[in-house]
Every structure is written in C-alpha cells, then in structure tokens.
C-alpha cells in the first residue's frame, strides 16, 4: 500500500510543471541544509569544549539548563517554517485506501523531515563527547538522548495539530509569551523546574518512559484528529462565513491605480496566504534587534547595519513584492483579457510596497532607543527599498511563474505558511548591493558617506521610476504568454 503513495509522490515531483525551478531550488536548499548540518555538528564540539575548558562546568548540566529553550524555539521554528505533509488527498478518499493508511503515510513523511533530523547533528556528537571525553555512563547518556529524541518528535506532532487549530496556537503562544515575559523580567525562572527534569532523563531511567508515553498520546491524538478531519466538509473542506461588501471609495483619489489598489487591499485582507506577509513584516521589524543589541557578534560590523536597515524597513516589500504577479495567478487570464495597462497594475503593487515600507520605517522608530545612528540606518534602508528594491522585486516578478493558491489555508494537508526558507533566501541578493555601496563609502571616507551613497542610489532609482517601469512593463509583456501557461499548470 505504501508503495502506491511513494510512487505518487515520486511522480508528482518529477512531473510537476515547475520542475526545473523546483530542482534548482532543491539543490540550493540542499547546500543550505548541508551548511546548517555542519554548523550544528561544529556547534556541538564548540559548546562542549567551551563549557568544559573555559567554564570548567559539566557540559551535561549546563545544556540541561538550556534545553527548554531549545525545545521551545524548535517548536516556534517548526510552526513558522515546517511544511505540512502535502499529498493530494481528495482523489484518494474514494479509492479503496484505508483512511488510516493515508494518514500514516502523511505522518511517516513528517518523521523524515529536516526539522527532526537536524537535531541529530548536534546531539549525536554531543552525546558521544559526553561519553568519551567526559566519562559519563554510556547507558545514561543514551537514555538522556532517547528522551530528547522523544521530545523532538513530540514537537513534530504537536506542530501538526497546531497548524490546524488556530485556537490552540493562541493558547500555547500565549503561555509561551507570558512565561517568556516573566523570565525576561526575572520574576520566574522556568529553568529551575525544567533543568531537574532534563537531568532526571539522565539520572533515573524511568523518566524516559514518561516522555515516550506522552509522545505516544500525542501521536494517537494527532492521528485521530487528522483521520477524523478527512472529510470534504471538515478538514479538507472550506469554511464559508458571512462577509460584507467593502467599498474603499476613499482610495479613488489615486485615479486609475485605485481600481487595483482596492483589489490588492482586499486580496491581502481576505486571503490567508497574503495575510501572512503582514505578520512576517512585523517579525522583520524585530529582526534588527539581533544587530543593534549586539546579540550576535558577526553582526556587529558596520556593513551589517545597512543590511538590518533594509530588512527592518523592507519586510513587507520583500515578502509581498517577490510574489507579484503570482498573487493574481488564479485570475491572470481575466486580467490579461481586460483593458488593463500593465503600468497601472504594477504601480498599484508599487504603491502598496511603498506604503508598507513607510509604515515599517515609522514603526521602527523604536530603534531610536539604540541611538539615532541606528534609526538612520533604518531610514536609509527604507529609501533604498523604495527607490531600488521595489523595482527589483517587480522586475524579478516578471520571471516568477509559480502559481499561488491563495486559499491554501483551507486545505488540511496544504502548506499553511507562505513564509518559508526559500522566500527568505531569494531576498538576499537585494541586500548585497546596498551593503557593498555602504562599505565603499564607509571604508573610503566615513560612515555618513556610506549612508549617503546608499541614499543616493535610492533616490536615483526613484528618479528613474518611469524609465524603469517602462522597461519592466516590456518584460512583463514578453513574458505574458509563458506566465499564463505556467499559471494554468496545477502544482
């Protein structure tokens, strides 16, 4: 039976319409994964020797203190990044497949997810080091290790449920936020309770059993909840709720562009997938904290400031912009047969991105706390985003040919998050140029000269907007038929 599922998966991968870009992406992701694995493995050696040699503490006890954070962040990363098992469920339902088999296969797929395997690259070397270098009992370390594996897979299945139950995510998210807050302000230290627990995985053999019992309950629970929802009017179906018609007439002052602007605003408001771009841009706002607080050493170089500035102010621009025109893929033939000037269509998206960037820049004024220089970096980043990156993403968009399912959130097995590693990586090239410009100014003359150079680039891009738009329009026109064809292909 499993053979069928595997061949179906195999074929859907190799026969998909977007195979070529898919393969390229997979290779790219492969390198990224390899890098992460190396970092993890290297990290385990570094952590071990740092704790042992420099701090002269027991690495096992120290890591036990921090494991709760590891588990929590693992869950957060999973929720944000891990894709739910996608197999085309509907046609299988009426075939003589046991429903349990369908769910088992989907679950089996998640077990081999990168998000589970990556942990091994840290903990296996670490466990070996504990036994060989530190003289811990092999048996106990194995049990400790097993317990951790159980917790990681617990997260895996918890994430499956969280992805379907919005109430639960608010509940768990709320608890995490409260605990995190209490911890931060020093009212309550969760690690005093969790450290003994992780320690007991090592000390008392039976604790592992508890972990596995809980894991088992979680598996059964998520399995049941999934199997129960394999109905067209439950997990696989769509919920339609009463909605109201909106006018948004106040946008009419934007002239022709307003027609599309009104539509784009509805697009973002009413579809789960574009809505996540808003969430992501909020997350990007906080990304700067990593740089400006000096939290990460490598980010302290001056050039990274401009990088942070671009990211903080450009979260919306980068996440929304990179999928123009795919947002409209579902009805692209309509747009192409209507009396639409590409320029008006594109300028609506452009305005959205500009407004998004300006709002981000205003919200980012909180960074003034770290000094006006930090906020200056954000403002310069915003100018560059508006002037140059807005054009770059539209330009790149002409070649984006993967259709977007706006309502994918409806599908229990569909991917829920539009924010994935792929989208993050693709936005990196837009960062390199301003960093180089800044570096030239910074090292040749002064930091302000660096900012000035980036600003000038931004203003120049803005000044040539019309010319650039004409160029982009031409590309969109030549790519039109290819794009139409690609959007017709189902994933």
């Amino acid at each position: 039976m499993f053979k069928h599922f595997v061949t179906l998966q195999w074929k859907s991968f190799w026969r998909s319409a977007s195979l070529t870009s898919g393969i390229f992406m997979k290779i790219f992701m492969g390198f990224w994964a390899l890098y992460l694995m190396l970092v993890m493995a290297g990290g385990s050696f570094l952590v071990f020797s740092y704790v042992k040699k420099d701090l002269c503490l027991d690495p096992l006890q120290v890591i036990n203190q921090f494991l709760i954070y590891w588990v929590v962040f693992d869950l957060i990363f999973r929720y944000a990044l891990q894709q739910m098992p996608v197999i085309n469920i509907k046609p299988l339902l009426i075939l003589p497949f046991d429903k349990k088999k369908i769910v088992s296969f989907a679950f089996a797929k998640t077990i081999f997810s990168f998000f589970n395997i990556i942990h091994a690259f840290f903990f296996i070397p670490f466990s070996i080091l504990l036994i060989v270098k530190d003289g811990h009992s092999a048996m106990s370390v194995m049990l400790w290790h097993l317990g951790l594996i159980g917790l990681i897979f617990f997260n895996n299945f918890l994430n499956i449920i969280l992805n379907k139950k919005d109430n639960l995510i608010f509940f768990i998210g709320g608890i995490l936020a409260v605990l995190g807050g209490l911890q931060y302000y020093g009212y309550f230290d969760i690690t005093t309770y969790t450290t003994p627990f992780f320690q007991s995985l090592y000390d008392t053999p039976f604790t592992v059993l508890i972990v596995f019992v809980v894991l088992l309950i979680m598996v059964v629970f998520s399995f049941r909840s999934f199997a129960r929802n394999l109905y067209l009017d439950a997990g696989l179906g769509s919920k339609s709720k009463n909605i109201t018609t909106e006018n948004l007439d106040w946008l009419d002052r934007f002239g022709k562009t307003a027609i599309f602007l009104k539509n784009d605003i509805k697009l973002i408001k009413r579809n789960k997938r574009p809505r996540t771009t808003i969430l992501v841009s909020v997350m990007f706002l906080f990304y700067g904290l990593l740089f400006f607080t000096g939290g990460i050493e490598t980010y302290e170089g001056p050039v990274w400031r401009i990088f942070a500035g671009i990211i903080v102010s450009g979260g919306f621009l980068l996440t929304f912009g990179q999928f123009v025109p795919s947002w409209d893929s579902a009805y692209y033939p309509l747009m192409m047969s209507q009396n639409i000037k590409y320029k008006e269509y594109l300028s609506s998206k452009w305005w959205l991105m500009v407004v998004g960037t300006i709002i981000s820049a205003i919200l980012a004024s909180g960074y003034l706390y770290f000094g006006w220089e930090v906020y200056l970096a954000v403002l310069v980043g915003a100018i560059y985003n508006i002037g140059v990156n807005s054009h770059v993403v539209l330009w790149a968009g002409a070649y984006v040919k993967s259709p977007i399912d706006l309502t994918s959130a409806k599908n229990a097995f569909g991917d829920k998050q539009s924010f994935n590693i792929k989208t993050m990586l693709l936005s990196l090239p837009k960062m390199a140029l301003p960093m180089i410009l800044y570096a030239i100014g910074h090292y040749a003359y002064s930091p302000n000269a660096g900012y000035a150079l980036v600003t000038i680039a931004g203003i120049a891009g803005f000044a040539f907007k019309d010319a650039v738009f004409n160029k982009i329009e031409k590309i969109y026109r030549t790519e039109k038929h290819k794009t139409l064809w690609a959007y017709k292909q189902k994933k």
């Binding site: 033939p333 639409i340 706006l406 139409l484």
Partner: protein
C-alpha cells in the same frame, strides 16, 4: 469584426488548431461546436491573446490582437473560472469589471437589475465570496460580467455547461437578445447542439483543429449536426 488568418497552434509537434481563414462579420452570432480537443477553447484563447499562435494572426476590429491591446476595450469574455476573482463578492467583482471598463456603480447597478431573474436571488447580496459559490452560480456571475461596459464582441466558452435547466433557458434568451443587436458580435461554443442551433445564426464545426463545416442555421441544421457527430 473578427478575421482569422492562417492560424495554427502546435504543441510539441501536435497541431491542435489549423484555420486557414475565418471571417466573423459584425453583428454575427457565431456558434462553435466540436468534440473535446477539437480546439474550441484554443481558438477563443488565441482570440484573446492568452496563447500565442504558432503561425498566423487574428484581427479583432481590424487590430491584430498580438500587436495592440486596443481591442480589449470592446471585447469581453468568460472562458472559465480563471476569469473570476475568488476573494471578491459578486457585487465587488461586477464593480471591479465596471471600473476597468469605465462604468460607474450606477451604470453597473442599472445593468444588473435587468438580470435579476437570471440570478434567481442567489448572486447579489449573498455575503459570500465568489470562491464559495457553486459552479453554476459562479458561471452566472462570469457570464453577466461580460455584458458590462457595452462590449462589441462577447466570447462565451461553454456557457450552458453546469447551469440548471431554468437558467439555461434564460441564458438562451439573453444570448438571443444580444444576437439581435447588430452592434454586438457574440461567439459561443457548446457541446449542446440543440442550444447552439437555437441561439446562433451561424455554426462552425471544428474537428481536430480544422473547420469541417460552416453552416448558416436553418431548420435542418440540428439534424445535419447530429448526423455529423453520429458518424
């Protein structure tokens, strides 16, 4: 109004459309019939410049569709659900199309009021997005949207499919009225020979991408078509 010149479309060596010459005069009501894969949708799609023909070209109102876009303001079409915007309500969709075609809300409302019985109370004021409507109701929205903004060419691909009997009869009436207007050219494709002979003055049969029959509709047309497809 519409002229097709040496049009072919080839997919990986397989010719799916091959029309040497086809002229559709203004005011015509033109029916296209043919089995699956005969090239009906391909023809309509190339007419709308949605696919690029391998050779040849199509003129709409004397404008080559692949060179200028001026024909778009006088042409409207409903091919399939990709012509609907799923996250809009029916009203919002109509107004959106209206704005693209230079019609204000009052114009659109006036037009829609004529089709209240066609909508059968299931379209307007529904508090539902288009994606949550049934296939048939989606189709009603798409068809009526093509009438917004006084188009001179209206293209409907399989308009009768998925519609209930009452709506089919009402739709026939609507198309007949359009056909009677000498300013409007209607192009309809269908698998239902009875419907198409009823509403169209001229019927072209496509078979494997080629025109095999070109008939002016008369009493005998239906019979002739039935014989053709019964071979």
């Amino acid at each position: 109004m519409i002229a097709v010149h040496d049009l072919t479309k080839t997919y990986t060596g397989n010719t799916v459309l091959n029309i040497e010459h086809l002229e559709i005069p203004k005011g015509d009501s033109f029916g296209l019939v043919g089995n699956n894969g005969a090239g009906k949708t391909t023809l309509f799609s190339s007419l709308l410049d949605l696919i690029k023909p391998s050779t040849g070209y199509i003129e709409n109102k004397g404008i080559k569709v692949n060179e200028s876009e001026a024909w778009k303001s006088v042409t409207s079409a409903f091919i399939d659900e990709t012509f609907l915007i799923g996250y809009l309500t029916a009203e919002e969709y109509f107004y959106f199309i209206g704005e693209l075609r230079g019609q204000n809300k009052a114009d659109v409302d006036a037009l829609l009021s004529q089709f209240e019985d066609f909508f059968h109370g299931e379209i307007l004021g529904q508090k539902k997005y288009l994606r949550d409507l049934s296939k048939g109701n989606q189709k009603k929205v798409g068809i009526i949207a093509t009438l917004i903004g006084n188009p001179e060419v209206i293209i409907l691909d399989e308009p009768f499919a998925n519609l209930d009997p009452t709506t089919q009869i009402r739709l026939k009436k609507i198309i007949k009225e359009l056909a009677a207007n000498p300013e409007i050219t209607v192009l309809v494709s269908s698998h239902d020979l009875m419907h198409v002979t009823e509403v169209c003055e001229r019927i072209v049969v496509l078979d494997k991408g080629e025109i095999v029959k070109d008939l002016a509709t008369s009493q005998e047309t239906l019979k002739e078509l039935e014989e053709h497809f019964n071979r």
